[in-house]
């Protein structure tokens, strides 16, 4: 499993987004966004359970390093490193020179992020074939 800027421990911006939705007549607060807030019981439950189920899974976590533009004068990291990492044994962690939006959208095959992800795929590929051979 490859995680790209996944808020395993929530995001401060979830609170902000829900506050904006709450005052918006058309939308209103969304429960699933509340679950992404920093102190979220739901996220904690998923994380606690997942650590018992992830044996045998190859885990990669990539985190963003560039702030996403949120307006003319504002920018921020949406999912900071400490939230994008699960801290599980065997989890491979790497940075991407991208913001939250562009971390999964590459301009060209020469994009460093694309190369990084391709390397991860190659490593996973080798591991899968190695496991496959050992099962024969």
């Amino acid at each position: 499993m490859v995680f790209l800027a996944t808020p395993h421990r929530g995001s401060d911006h979830a609170t902000l987004l829900n506050n904006i939705l709450r005052v918006s007549a058309a939308h209103g607060a969304r429960p699933y966004i509340s679950d992404l807030e920093r102190v979220s019981a739901s996220l904690a439950k998923v994380n606690d359970s997942f650590r018992h189920y992830c044996d045998g899974l190859t885990l990669y976590s990539f985190f963003e390093t560039r702030e996403l533009s949120l307006g003319p004068t504002t920018s921020a990291l949406i999912v900071p490193k400490e939230s994008a990492i699960m801290g599980l044994p065997g989890e491979r962690v790497s940075l991407m020179y991208a913001d939250h939006r562009s971390i999964c959208k590459f301009e060209s095959p020469d994009d460093p992020g694309y190369a990084t992800l391709t390397e991860a795929f190659n490593a996973i590929n080798k591991e899968i074939f190695k496991r496959s051979k050992s099962q024969l």
């Binding site: 499993m1 490859v2 995680f3 790209l4 800027a5 996944t6 808020p7 395993h8 429960p31 699933y32 679950d35 992404l36 739901s42 996220l43 998923v46 994380n47 359970s49 997942f50 189920y53 992830c54 899974l57 190859t58 949406i78 999912v79 939250h100 971390i103 999964c104 959208k105 590459f106 301009e107 060209s108 095959p109 994009d111 694309y114 992800l117 795929f121 996973i124 590929n125 899968i128 074939f129 496959s132 099962q135």
Partner: protein, 74 residues
Amino acid sequence: MLRYTSMLVSGILTFPGVQNPIVLVAHSMGGIVAKEASLLRLLLPPLCGHCNAGLTKIRRGAGLHYGTTRSFLP
């Protein structure tokens, strides 16, 4: 428990000819979906939450299967 299944799971990579070949690539909220799905032993995932490609299609070897035209592949 699966509260997030309608959320984006960005991509599923398959390796033809290999058993259990699926690598799930999830962006942002999709990662929470992926973890939650795995708790229910649904991984390999039954659906791509974004484009609704089912496991059957994926097993047939959809290759690099991605949810948006700008995701993953330039």
